[in-house]
C-alpha cells in the first residue's frame, strides 16, 4: 500500500464541472493510466480517492489536491506523467509526492482556509472598491441569503472573511485577493463577497481563481474577530497545503 498526494490545476472549460463529476473524472483518468489502484472491499469495489474542498462551479484553481491509495508503491514522477497523459485538457497534476507508510489516509479534513484571486473586468472605480472593502471589513456582521433549492436562510459570513484586499487596479478592471474560511465548520463563498461589494453586474466579467489552500483557521478566525484586520494574516500563522506541507510547513503571505 502506498498513498500518493497530487497537487493539480483545474482550468479552462473543466472549471464548469462539479466536485462530484471531477472526482469521477479523476477516477477514470487513473483507470486509463492503469495505475495499481487499491480498491475498497465489498460488493461495489471502488478506488480510494479523496479531494480537497470543492471549488465553486466555474472557478479555476492551481492549488487543488487529491490523494489516492495504491496497492503497490510507485515513483511519483512516473505517476504524475501517467496521470497527466490520461487527464482531459484543463486538468494537470503539477506535483505528486508519496506519504510515509505510517500516515493514515489523507482526506484534507484540516483544510479550512481558501485563498482566491478574483478578477472583475469592466468599468470599476478602484477607489470606491477600496472604500467599500474597508467599510465591509469594519462591519460587525455581514448577512447573506443562502438556499438554492431550499428555502433561503440568513447567514452572517463576516467571521469567515479572514482577509480582503484590492490587489490590482487598471483600466480593464480590478483584481481582489481574499482569504475565506471553508470546510465543514462554515465558510464564505467568493461570489458572496463580490455581491456584498456590489461588483457583480451584467456588464462585468468575473473570474474566480483559487490560489491556495491552508490549514489552521483557528488562528486566523481568532485574529479576525479580535482585530478586524483587512490586511493579510501575518506570515507563519497558517499552513499552506503544498508538497512540503505534508510536514506542515509555514506559509508565506498571499
Amino acid at each position: 500500500m502506498a498513498q500518493i498526494i497530487c497537487r493539480y490545476h483545474k482550468r479552462d472549460e473543466v472549471r464548469w464541472i462539479s466536485h462530484l463529476d471531477l472526482k469521477r473524472t479523476l477516477e477514470r483518468a487513473m483507470r486509463r493510466a492503469q495505475l495499481p489502484l487499491a480498491l475498497s472491499q465489498g460488493h461495489n469495489p471502488h478506488p480510494k480517492i479523496s479531494l480537497s474542498p470543492p471549488l465553486p462551479l466555474g472557478a479555476t484553481g492551481d492549488a487543488e489536491l487529491f490523494s489516492v491509495q495504491l496497492a503497490e508503491g510507485m515513483d511519483p514522477g512516473e505517476l504524475k506523467q501517467r496521470i497527466n497523459d490520461s487527464l482531459p485538457s484543463g486538468l494537470e497534476v503539477m506535483e505528486a509526492w508519496v506519504l510515509p507508510a505510517h500516515r493514515k489516509k489523507e482526506t484534507f479534513g484540516d483544510i479550512d482556509i481558501a485563498q482566491y484571486s478574483v478578477t472583475v473586468k469592466g468599468e470599476v472605480d478602484a477607489a470606491r472598491v477600496s472604500e467599500h472593502i474597508a467599510d465591509l471589513m469594519g462591519q460587525e456582521e455581514l448577512i447573506v441569503q443562502r438556499g438554492g433549492k431550499r428555502p433561503p436562510r440568513s447567514l452572517d459570513i463576516r467571521p469567515f472573511i479572514l482577509s480582503l484586499a484590492l490587489a490590482q487596479a487598471s483600466e480593464d478592471g480590478v483584481e481582489l485577493r481574499m482569504r475565506l474560511r471553508t470546510g465543514s465548520h462554515g465558510g464564505a463563498r467568493p461570489q458572496e463577497v463580490i455581491e456584498l461589494l456590489a461588483l457583480n453586474g451584467a456588464d462585468r466579467t468575473i473570474t474566480y481563481h483559487r490560489t491556495g489552500l491552508f490549514a489552521g483557521a483557528q488562528l486566523g478566525a481568532e485574529r479576525a474577530s479580535a482585530g478586524r484586520s483587512t490586511g493579510a494574516p501575518r506570515a507563519g500563522r497558517l499552513h499552506r497545503w503544498t508538497r512540503s506541507r505534508s510536514s506542515r510547513e509555514r506559509s508565506e503571505s498571499p
Binding site: 472549460e13 473543466v14 483518468a29 486509463r32 490520461s86
Partner: protein, 581 residues
C-alpha cells in the same frame, strides 16, 4: 455576448462545454463535409444514446469528414441564447449549426419532436424543408422514430429508415457536394433514404388513415436499411466519457441487435430485424479496448434480451474473470424472468450488485398469450424465488395496462401477482424481509406502426386512469413502490406514433404554444397539445383511439420494416383468437 459569459447563468453548464475524454477535434479547413449530430433532448440523455456515439466515431474516423455534437438546450439556457441573440452551436468548436454542411438529428421518441423544432429555430434554420435555401444545411433525420417518418416529414430534407452506420458516409458524401439540389438527388439514391419531398401525402378524414405516393420516379416503398453482419459493423471502443453523470455512465457493448421473440406490442422488434450477434471474441476484445480507452468501471451488455445471445454464459464468465480483478463490473440490463437469468445474474453478482428487472407485461396467461409474451407464471415465481434466495432484496417488475382484450380481471391479476412475489420475498428473506423492495412500473399500451397491434385504438385516458386507480388501491405497503406513466403522455405518444404528415402542423403549433421537453413530466401539458392539434384542424383523440380497418391505407405503408402488412394482420388475428381460447 458569447457562450462563455452565459455559462454562469445556467444549471449544469458542463452540458454546453466539451473537452470530454475521447471527444474529437478536427480542423474544418481540412475536410470535405462537416456534420453536426444533434440529439433532441438533454446532453445527459443524448450521451447515453449509443447510436450517436457510433455515428460520431464513423464520421470522425474518416479523414474527409468531421462530426461534432449538439443537444437541446435546457429552458434556462434557451432563454439566455434567445435574450442575447446567441445561435445554437456545436460543442466541439462552438460553430453555429447553420454553418455545418449537414445536421443529423436523432428521432429517439415522439416526445422529443418539439425539441427538434426548437433546435432548428435556435440555429436559425427554417423548420420546414420547403423553406430552406441554398445557404441552409441539409437536415437529415434517423433513428427509432423513423419507422413512421410522416409526423416530422416536412421538417427534414431526408430521413434514413433503419440503421445508419453504413449510410452515414454516403450522407456525408452528399453533404460534401455543397449544393442543395445535387445533394438531395444524391441522398435519394441512398438505399433506405426517404426524401419526403418526393412523396405526396393524401388523407381520408380525421385520424391515421391516408396514403403516401411517390413522385419524381421515387420508389413506392422504402426498405429499412440494416447492417448484414454485426461483427463487421463499426463500433466505437473509444467512447466519449462525459464529465456529467449521464443515464448510462459506463461502457456500452452491443452484443446483439434485433429480437425474434415477437411480442406483438413491440415496435423495436419490428424495427431492428433480423437478429444479429457479435461473436464472443469480438465482444471480449471490444470490452478490453473500451475499458482501457474510457476508464469506466462498468461494462454493460446491450441487447433486447441478453439471455437470448447464444454465447451469453461464456461471455459473462470470461468478462467477470478478466475484468473483475480490476474492480470493473458487468451488467446485463435486459434479463428475463427465468432461472437461467438468475444463474447468470449470480455470476455477475460476484463482482457487483446490480438490480434485477423482470417484464412479464401482463399478469394472466391468457393476456400474455394475446401479446405473445412467453413467460409462464411458474417461471416467474421460480425466478423470483431464486433471486431472493441468492440474496437479492430488490426487484423491478414491468407491466402494461390497456392491452388489447384486457379486462379488469387482468388488471387485478397484476396486484395478485405482485403480492405473491412479495410473499415469496418475505419467506425467502426471513429476518431480512424488511429490506424487500418491489418496484412495480405500470406503462400504458401504445399502438405502434409496424406491429400487429397497429390497427388497435388505444384505450381512453379515463379507462387507463380507472385501471391505475385499481392498482393504486390494491398495491400498498412498505415493500411495494408503484410508478406509472401519465395516460396523457401515452395518448400523445400514440397520436404522434400513428400520425400522418398533417400531425407535423400540430407539432409546430404545440411548439408555438410553448411545448418543449415533453418527455419531462414538469414540462408536459396535455391540454396544450390537445389545443395544438385542434388549431391544426386535427383531433388528437382520433389518432390515438380510432381502431382502424385492416384494409385502410396507413400513413406509414410506404415504409417497409421487413414484415408485410398481410403477415401483421395474420398475427393480429391470431392474437385475438388466442385471447378467446
Amino acid at each position: 455576448m458569447d457562450l462563455e459569459s452565459l455559462l454562469p447563468r445556467v444549471t449544469k453548464p458542463a452540458r454546453y462545454t466539451n473537452g470530454e475524454w475521447n471527444a474529437v477535434h478536427k480542423d474544418a479547413a481540412h475536410v470535405r463535409a462537416r456534420v453536426c449530430l444533434v440529439y433532441p433532448d438533454t446532453y445527459e440523455l443524448g450521451m447515453s444514446h449509443l447510436g450517436l456515439q457510433i455515428l460520431y466515431h464513423v464520421l470522425n474516423s474518416h479523414p474527409d469528414f468531421l462530426a461534432e455534437r449538439a443537444f437541446a438546450p435546457w429552458p434556462d439556457m434557451e432563454r439566455q441564447l434567445r435574450d442575447h441573440g446567441v445561435p445554437l452551436m456545436s460543442l466541439e468548436s462552438r460553430t453555429p449549426l447553420r454553418d455545418f454542411d449537414a445536421i443529423g438529428i436523432t428521432l429517439p421518441y415522439e416526445l422529443t419532436y418539439t425539441n427538434i423544432l426548437n433546435v432548428l429555430d435556435l440555429a436559425a434554420i427554417p423548420a420546414r424543408a420547403a423553406d430552406r435555401g441554398p445557404d441552409d444545411p441539409l437536415v437529415i433525420g434517423g433513428g427509432p422514430g423513423a419507422v413512421n417518418p410522416e409526423p416530422v416529414a416536412d421538417f427534414f430534407d431526408a430521413i434514413l429508415i433503419g440503421e445508419a452506420e453504413e449510410a452515414i458516409l454516403d450522407i456525408a458524401e452528399a453533404a460534401a457536394l455543397r449544393d442543395r439540389d445535387a445533394a438531395l438527388a444524391r441522398l435519394s439514391e441512398i438505399p433506405g433514404m426517404y426524401v419526403p419531398s418526393n412523396y405526396q401525402a393524401a388523407f381520408d378524414g380525421s385520424g391515421p388513415k391516408g396514403s403516401v405516393t411517390p413522385r419524381n420516379g421515387a420508389p413506392a416503398q422504402i426498405a429499412r436499411r440494416f447492417v448484414a453482419h454485426l461483427d463487421d459493423a463499426p463500433f466505437p471502443t473509444g467512447q466519449i466519457v462525459p464529465f456529467l453523470d449521464t443515464v448510462h455512465s459506463r461502457v456500452t457493448l452491443e452484443i446483439m441487435r434485433g429480437c425474434t421473440r415477437g411480442c406483438r406490442f413491440c415496435q423495436a422488434g419490428a424495427a431492428y430485424l433480423p437478429r444479429r450477434e457479435r461473436t464472443v471474441e469480438t465482444v471480449l476484445r471490444q470490452a478490453e479496448e473500451a475499458v482501457a480507452a474510457t476508464g469506466y468501471d462498468e461494462v454493460s451488455l446491450l441487447a433486447f434480451t441478453s439471455v437470448d445471445y447464444r454465447g451469453i454464459e461464456e461471455l459473462v464468465g470470461k468478462l467477470v474473470e478478466r475484468l473483475g480483478g480490476r474492480g470493473v463490473g458487468v451488467s446485463l440490463p435486459s434479463l428475463r424472468a427465468d432461472a437461467f437469468s438468475i444463474a447468470l445474474a449470480n455470476k455477475i453478482q460476484q463482482v457487483r450488485k446490480s438490480g434485477l428487472t423482470f417484464a412479464p407485461e401482463a399478469a394472466t396467461d391468457r393476456l400474455r398469450r394475446v401479446i405473445r409474451k412467453h413467460t409462464s407464471e411458474d417461471e416467474l415465481f421460480a425466478a423470483a424465488e431464486a433471486a431472493f434466495s441468492s440474496g437479492w432484496t430488490r426487484l423491478k417488475l414491468y407491466f402494461m395496462i390497456g392491452l388489447p382484450t384486457e379486462t379488469e380481471e387482468d388488471v387485478e391479476a397484476i396486484s395478485d401477482l405482485v403480492r405473491r412475489v412479495v410473499g415469496f420475498g418475505r419467506g425467502a428473506l426471513g429476518s431480512r424481509a424488511g429490506r424487500l423492495r418491489i418496484a412495480v412500473s405500470i406503462a400504458s399500451f401504445i399502438p405502434k406502426p409496424h406491429t400487429p397491434f397497429q390497427w388497435v385504438g388505444q384505450e381512453s385516458r379515463e379507462g387507463l386512469l380507472r385501471k391505475q386507480e385499481i392498482l393504486q388501491r390494491a398495491l400498498r405497503g412498505r415493500a411495494i413502490k408503484l410508478s406509472w406513466t401519465d395516460p396523457g403522455v401515452s395518448e400523445l405518444e400514440a397520436a404522434i406514433s400513428r400520425g400522418d404528415r398533417r400531425v407535423g402542423a400540430a407539432i409546430e403549433q404545440a411548439r408555438a404554444l410553448g411545448a418543449a421537453f415533453d418527455a419531462w413530466s414538469e414540462h408536459f401539458d396535455f391540454d396544450r397539445w390537445a389545443r395544438a392539434f385542434g388549431e391544426a384542424g386535427l383531433d388528437l383523440h382520433d389518432y390515438a383511439h380510432r381502431t382502424l380497418d385492416y384494409n385502410d391505407p396507413l400513413p406509414w405503408d410506404h415504409i417497409s420494416c421487413g414484415i408485410g402488412k398481410d403477415a401483421l394482420q395474420a398475427e393480429a388475428e391470431r392474437a385475438f383468437s388466442e385471447g378467446d381460447a
